[in-house]
């Protein structure tokens, strides 16, 4: 047997290669560079890699290749759009991470131990969060580009494993953070198992792990039991990642426990990657079996919207509230998958980009509201925020209105396009459910606005810190994107329209 070296199109893979190379360099830096130099160097490497990688994405625009890495990786419009979005989100996430205040000085030290205190006092902080984030970004870029189930699984793990660790890095309330990390890890491992199980059955059905092979096998028919079991298990794995009900239970705990910059990154970028992969799987591989999965996914979409919107009402913690809101948004995004038309793909891409920025901004803003022991996420203590810092309250209100889908914000255009796609595909039930759950969701978004603007502060221990340049930049960019995409979405809509074709 002859062994042929795989033909790799390094040019087409460049965006990911840059990020993975930087991640490896960052690991080495973490091991060998002195503690003082580490943090600035890591930040420089990370930002540099993101910028370089983004430049590669721009260079590749218009490229369509199914053979970038021996049929395993695809480079096409949706992939590049999602990679670009992920990189932009990552850029600002790194800026948030750079305000190192949220992270444990030594994640390996036992909470409350002398090592921990010593590390805090001497300022000898570990900065492993940078390489971890870089690996996660790399995985997120590979996930929507993967063209076979094995690559999908590898990408899924590459993006997930660093996230599990990052969720446990919080400096304050470390036990809560570690609990969140463990929970995330266990449930994540569980869902990975489901994913793999499904992949195995789909291989059994199609005799092929590539998405194209599965598509051909579906159109030519085969053992339907294998197909169904495979689709169900694979979907469970994916739905877990996107945080759809009833697989959403990890979301609020992890969002709450993780350091807020990590939550921001995770909430914004993981959605992009996971939905990117889900869109490709359902559109390309499983499109032919639409009648088998459509009823189930419709039910899940409706359930997800309702669960997210209704349970969010009862939340008293702003991070948990946004977690449930993200669940509701996962439901809206599922309608884009259900549409199964080009309209749906375009709408999903736009929605992911706009939602990503708004989410990033909202979590970045949460880092500013503090008392002496750190961030204050209890909503009751946000009461009267507008009185003390009107600008912060106003920007947060803008993000909330965008989440609620009020016109002239990005969220509205996203909702409008995605529901239009769903209606176009004849799935009117999902549109009605979406509209009704938007009405429910409006209630808790508005309640927060009422709290901030119309109630008097009861205690004065909560302060709004003056944001660092990094955080400030992130918040402003997010706010401007949120408004700009709502008022003048044409450039992005046009870009999305020109990119929204899956290469098979």
């Amino acid at each position: 047997m002859e062994f042929n070296a795989p033909a790799l199109e390094y040019g087409a893979l460049a965006p990911m290669l840059v990020i993975f190379t930087a991640a490896i360099i960052a690991v080495i830096v973490e091991a060998f560079v002195s503690a003082k130099l580490r943090a600035p160097l890591q930040l420089a490497i990370s930002l540099g890699a993101v910028v370089l990688s983004f430049a590669q994405v721009l260079r590749l625009r218009g490229t369509q290749s199914a053979t970038a890495a021996v049929n395993s990786v695809i480079v096409d419009g949706p992939v590049l759009f999602m990679q670009g979005t992920t990189l932009l989100l990552a850029f600002f996430a790194f800026l948030l991470i750079a305000d190192f205040d949220a992270f444990a000085a030594q994640a390996s030290a036992i909470p409350g131990s002398t090592e921990e205190r010593a590390a805090l006092q001497t300022g000898k902080v570990q900065t492993e969060v940078y390489p971890l984030t870089l690996f996660a970004v790399g995985g997120m870029m590979l996930f929507p580009a993967a063209n076979d189930l094995i690559t999908l699984f590898v990408a899924l793990e590459v993006l997930s494993l660093p996230l599990y660790l990052m969720a446990g890095l919080s400096r304050r309330r470390r036990l809560l953070s570690q609990e969140a990390a463990l929970k995330y890890f266990l449930l994540g491992a569980y869902s990975s198992a489901f994913f793999l199980f499904g992949a195995a059955f789909l291989y059994g059905f199609a005799g092929d792990v590539s998405l194209n092979g599965i598509r051909t096998a579906i159109s030519s028919g085969g053992n339907d039991a294998f197909l169904l079991v495979g689709m169900i298990s694979l979907s469970v794995g994916l739905l877990f990642k996107v945080g759809a009900a009833p697989f959403h239970a990890w979301t609020p705990d992890v969002y709450q426990g993780a350091p807020t910059p990590v939550t921001a990154f995770m909430a914004a970028a993981t959605k992009v990657a996971a939905f990117g992969a889900a869109l490709r799987i359902f559109y390309v591989a499983l499109g032919g079996a639409v009648w088998s999965w459509k009823p189930v996914i419709t039910a899940i979409a409706i359930l997800t919207m309702l669960v997210g919107s209704i349970i969010a009402i009862a939340q008293r913690d702003v991070k948990r509230m946004l977690a449930y809101s993200s669940i509701a948004h996962a439901g809206f995004l599922l309608t884009g998958i259900l549409a199964l038309n080009q309209e749906g793909l375009k709408a999903s891409l736009f929605y992911l980009a706009s939602y990503g920025f708004t989410t990033l901004g909202a979590f970045a803003l949460i880092t500013l509201v503090r008392d002496s022991s750190g961030e204050v996420t209890d909503l009751n203590r946000w009461v009267g925020l507008a009185k003390r810092s009107p600008a912060v309250a106003l920007i947060f209100a803008t993000f909330l209105l965008s989440f609620a889908g009020i016109p002239l914000t990005a969220g509205f255009i996203g909702k409008f396009t995605i529901f239009t796609a769903a209606y176009d595909s004849g799935n009117i039930a999902v549109v009605v459910a979406g509209v009704l759950s938007s009405a429910i969701a409006a209630f808790f978004y508005i309640r927060v606005i009422v709290m901030m603007f119309f109630s008097d502060p009861e205690e004065d221990t909560v302060t709004v810190t003056i944001p660092s340049l990094n955080t400030n930049l992130t918040i402003w960019v997010a706010a401007i994107v949120t408004i700009a995409l709502g008022v003048f979405p044409t450039p992005i809509l046009d870009a999305v329209a020109s990119l929204a074709t899956f290469v098979r």
């Binding site: 209105l401 016109p407 209606y423 549109v431 409006a442 209630f443 309640r447 603007f453 109630s455 809509l493």
Partner: protein, 503 residues
């Protein structure tokens, strides 16, 4: 000439200007706000004078592509119906500013914020009536909620926050249902020759009747909440009781008209067949609203609650006139919107002055005002008479037209609705008797009468009420062609009047 855009942009620019004024100088802020609103009113009146009443289509049309990939245009234009409502809005704003000169003082937010919100609201009001692109309309319809919400929640009386939230949630709920319908009709237009939001294009679509019924309901429920029609009215009394008198004038006088305006422009014109299907139900709801509002108004002890419930009764008349599907009914309904705007303004403003003088809103507390403050009492009296449609005052003409227009098609409903007039006499005359003519309630002896500013504010309103009562022709000239066109577009013809006894 982009007349409508200029008129709409003026208040917005004005609010920007106010944002840069020093917050401490509240007098300057008020003066600037007033000057801007007067300027806008001037533009509005000149637009009305230059309006060609012989044409029935849209005039002052503007059209620019906004989001081409979604077929969304920035598209404005007015016909008689929308022009009248814009005119109402731009005239009421300066009056409200003069009348409520001090009502922004004790709010949660600053005086400056009040006038910024007020002027932004004016832009939205002009936009919502002038938009001829459904998407643009929706944006104004929803965006309008934000300034109103802050105006109610920031400057009203005790329960203002709850009222503001209730208002917002009701409206958002309706708006989202409408959004579903807008998406529906947008997709249908895409299947019939290109996606569009242009109401001219949308009204030519052929939609099967089931779909049409659902789409109609999405729009109608949104508008019925806004208007408000029984049983979707419960937010209105709360909001009206909590808001400042000036905000209430704009809320009941103009914003609620967006609902009835929407019924004409969107429900009837876009879904004529579904309108026909639902007409019996809607007429029934209207009659219930007329009587229910009137009965509850009679029982009110609070003067703001009284005005709110009379409005619910009046909106019943307007809705009935619209869905009677006759040109008289439609003209009457539109004229009713105009007249109701002015008579409600007069009622709310005078009631507001009574309340601020007495420090109470209970009707029984105002005894004897006729002797103590004759001007104030007379103003309230005339406003009340207009509200009960006394012949010679403006509301009479419109109520008469609505009833005549309805009678030719739905005689039973028209006859029952006539009882609403009798009840109106009760709900107006009882408080007039209690509040104005009764024995002077202790503590009222030294209340001051209207000052010059208040006279300046109320005089034009009363002048309009009387003028349109005797000579409604100018308004009807503007309205009639548009009303006629609406009925024709919906595929109705007026029933021939039955003359003589031989059938």
């Amino acid at each position: 000439m982009n007349l409508l855009t200029s008129m709409g942009a003026l208040p917005l620019l004005g609010s920007l200007l106010i944002a840069f004024l020093p917050a401490a100088n509240s007098k300057l802020i008020k003066q600037v706000a007033l000057a801007i609103s007067l300027l806008v009113a001037g533009v509005g009146i000149s637009a009305a004078l230059a309006f060609d009443t012989a044409k029935s289509g849209f005039q002052y049309v503007e059209r620019y592509s906004w989001i081409p990939s979604l077929g969304i245009n920035y598209q404005l234009g007015v016909d008689g119906i929308s022009l009248i409502l814009i005119l109402l809005s731009v005239i009421l704003v300066p009056i409200v500013i003069v009348a409520g000169w001090n009502e922004s003082e004790n709010g949660r937010f600053s005086v400056k914020t009040f006038y910024i919100l007020m002027l932004i609201l004016e832009t939205m009001m002009i936009g919502v009536f002038a938009a001829t692109d459904v998407f643009l309309f929706y944006i104004f319809f929803e965006a309008m909620l934000v300034p109103v919400y802050f105006l109610i929640g920031g400057y009203g009386t005790e329960a203002r926050q709850a009222a503001a939230v209730k208002f917002l949630l009701y409206s958002l709920f309706g708006g989202l249902l409408m959004l579903a319908s807008i998406i529906g009709i947008f997709v249908i237009s895409g299947n019939q020759g290109g996606r569009s939001f242009d109401i001219g294009v949308l009204s030519t679509l052929t939609i099967d009747s089931t779909t049409q019924n659902f789409l109609f309901l999405g729009f109608f429920i949104a508008f019925a909440i806004k208007a408000p029609l029984w049983p979707m009215h419960t937010w209105l009394p709360d909001a009206a009781k909590s808001a400042t008198p000036g905000t209430s004038v704009l809320l009941l006088g103009v914003l609620d008209k967006v609902g009835t305006f929407g019924m004409i422009r969107y429900c009837v014109e876009l879904f004529p067949e579904a309108s026909k299907t639902f007409t019996p139900i809607i007429i029934t709801l209207s009659v219930i609203s007329i009587l229910y509002g009137a009965f509850l108004a009679i029982g009110q002890k609070d003067i703001k609650g009284l005005i709110a419930f009379t409005s619910i009764s009046h909106f019943g008349f307007i809705t009935m006139g619209i869905f009677a599907m006759t040109s008289q009914g439609n003209s009457g309904a539109t004229l009713y919107m105009l007249n109701h705007g002015f008579s409600t303004a007069a009622l709310f403003l005078t009631a507001g002055w009574m309340m601020s003088r007495r420090g109470s809103s209970t009707i029984a507390e105002f005894g004897g005002l006729q002797r103590v403050t004759p001007l104030l009492a007379w103003s309230f009296f005339i406003a009340g008479m207009s509200s009960l449609a006394l012949p010679g005052l403006s509301s009479f003409v419109s109520e008469f037209l609505v009833l005549v227009g309805t009678y030719t098609r739905y005689p039973v409903a028209a006859i029952i609705a006539t009882f609403g007039i009798v009840l109106a006499a009760l709900y107006i005359l009882i408080p007039v008797q209690k509040a104005l003519h009764g024995p002077t309630t202790p503590g009222n002896e030294n209340l001051p009468d209207l000052n010059k500013r208040e006279i300046v504010a109320i005089a034009p309103v009363i002048a309009v009420i009387i003028a349109l009562g005797f000579y409604p022709k100018p308004a009807l000239d503007i309205i009639n062609p548009a009303a006629q066109a609406t009925i024709e577009k919906a595929g109705f013809t007026d029933p021939a009047p039955l003359v003589g006894g031989d059938k």
